[in-house]
């Protein structure tokens, strides 16, 4: 750490303490986004399958869920969950209270549900554009509906959904900055603390903007690599 201390010696804002604060904010942001994406993705896959069901009693409730979550701001959803949970009868005495006392889990729930709604819509679009020939071929092989969904429709739908999903991941990363509003110290929260402490808006916010930019570029790079690999068979032969 000596080189770091030397580097920061004549700098009043970016010292070891504030950098540690940024670092803890960074880990919170990454954990929050990663866990919401995993939870949201696991919710979205069955929901998308239900959404394309021909039975309106199955597909309409999913449509409503997606409609509600895509039609309202994430901030409102977060407020409803964060402030709403404390009002559930007896929650403060139950064993869930230590979990909900912290802002992390309400944020995680709100973000996971939100990204689940958007991902369901992306997957629905991808499933709907499955080529008819593939489905006919699967039927000709005598595949059952479930098997066809698992072996034919979903694998190709995932690939087609990938570019749109990459966008959703980046939007989720950016949307996670509102976790700082409900007292969670994520990257933006760390910047707000440091702004409040030093009254230095440019340094505090530009530094996190740069970090977000780096994460965004890293994600774009990763998804592009994944796309080249997974969509290689759709490339024109050069």
């Amino acid at each position: 750490m000596d080189w770091l201390t030397a580097l920061l010696a004549d700098n009043s804002i970016f010292n070891a303490t504030t950098l540690a604060h940024y670092w803890s904010g960074f880990t919170t942001t990454v954990q929050l986004v990663f866990l919401s994406l995993v939870a949201g993705g696991m919710l979205a896959i069955p929901l998308a399958v239900l959404r394309v069901s021909p039975n309106p009693w199955i597909s309409k409730p999913v449509w409503l869920f997606v409609y509600l979550f895509r039609g309202t701001p994430l901030l409102i959803q977060l407020y409803l969950i964060y402030y709403g949970v404390t009002l559930i009868e007896g929650i403060q005495d139950s064993l869930f209270w230590p979990v909900f006392q912290d802002a992390f889990y309400p944020c995680l729930i709100a973000f996971a549900l939100n990204t689940a709604a958007y991902t369901t819509e992306i997957l629905r679009g991808a499933i709907a554009t499955t080529s008819q020939g593939e489905i006919e071929a699967a039927k000709a092989y005598g595949m059952s509906k479930g098997l066809m969904m698992r072996r034919i429709i979903l694998p190709s739908a995932f690939r087609r959904a990938l570019p749109a999903y990459a966008n959703e991941v980046i939007l989720m990363l950016h949307a996670s900055s509102i976790a700082s509003v409900v007292t969670l110290v994520d990257l933006t929260g760390a910047a707000r603390d440091i702004y409040a402490r030093f009254y230095a808006p440019f340094e505090a916010f530009m530094f996190v903007a740069l970090i977000y930019l780096c994460i965004t570029f890293a994600l774009i790079y990763l998804f592009r690599a994944l796309e080249t690999r997974l969509l290689a068979h759709l490339k024109p032969l050069s």
């Binding site: 509600l68 309202t72 701001p73 903007a209």
Partner: protein
């Protein structure tokens, strides 16, 4: 408490008391959204023209703008512009006072900061939309315009623009829907829009559902209404274009 609110059923007293200001807040939300939409459309057109221009400097400025803005969260940019802008304005007025002995004070209020930030952010998205729409116009048509001896401006107004709008409307519509929901963020920097008024009311009387659910429904109504309007608009501008059969 107003006499009228004492007369309504006890369960609704709080809503009666805090509700009406929230409706004013809803108007403010719409105002912020529409003004920032106009700003973003202007910036988007400028950005798209810069991106497509032959001038390297213009192109790189526009590319930097769209890349940087789309890589950073809205909230961070908003705070940077609101808190940072105020500080920059303060040093500007200090400097004016020191050098010219002019005493002026610039105040960045929440409304301007909100509109400027949202307009600035969505300008970057609009620039991408417009760029795509410009490129979607058939080059042969522009050549035909040139062959008729039209000036560049005439080509833009008579040939490119009417066709570009058709390609741009779905993208503009999407951006508008996202923009509308982004306006909720102005409550964080202190503007009394419907989200802020609702959260203040909810905290005052400890009834989050009573205030947040109506606000959520108001947003839902705004987005649904916009989607309906956008469909109409898309239909109008697609007149004379054959739909792909599917």
């Amino acid at each position: 408490m107003s006499p009228f609110c004492q007369s309504v059923p006890a369960a609704l007293t709080n809503l009666c008391q805090y509700g009406p200001p929230i409706i004013d807040g809803a108007l403010l939300t719409v105002e912020v959204a529409v003004l920032s939409l106009l700003l973003s459309l202007g910036l988007g057109l400028l950005g798209a023209s810069a991106k497509l221009s032959a001038n390297l400097a213009l192109r790189s400025v526009a590319t930097t703008y769209t890349t940087l803005i789309r890589g950073v969260p809205d909230l961070v940019l908003m705070m940077l512009i609101y808190f940072g802008g105020q500080m920059a304005m303060n040093s500007l007025s200090d400097w004016l006072y020191d050098t010219f002995a002019i005493e002026v004070f610039f105040n960045i209020n929440e409304f301007i900061a909100g509109v400027v930030t949202i307009g600035f952010i969505f300008g970057a998205y609009m620039a991408e939309t417009f760029r795509g729409a410009f490129l979607a116009v058939d080059g042969g048509q522009i050549e035909a315009g040139k062959a008729y001896g039209m000036t560049r401006w005439q080509i833009f107004v008579r040939i490119v623009f009417p066709q570009m709008v058709r390609h741009a409307i779905p993208g503009i519509g999407n951006n508008w829907l996202v923009l509308l929901k982004t306006t909720a963020l102005v409550s964080i920097i202190g503007l009394s829009d419907m989200v802020r008024l609702a959260s203040e009311a909810a905290k005052a009387v400890h009834e989050p559902f009573m205030f947040f659910i109506p606000v959520a429904l108001a947003y839902l109504a705004l987005t649904s209404l916009s989607e309906w309007g956008l469909n109409k608009l898309e239909h109008k501008y697609s007149a004379g274009v054959r739909r792909e059969a599917n």
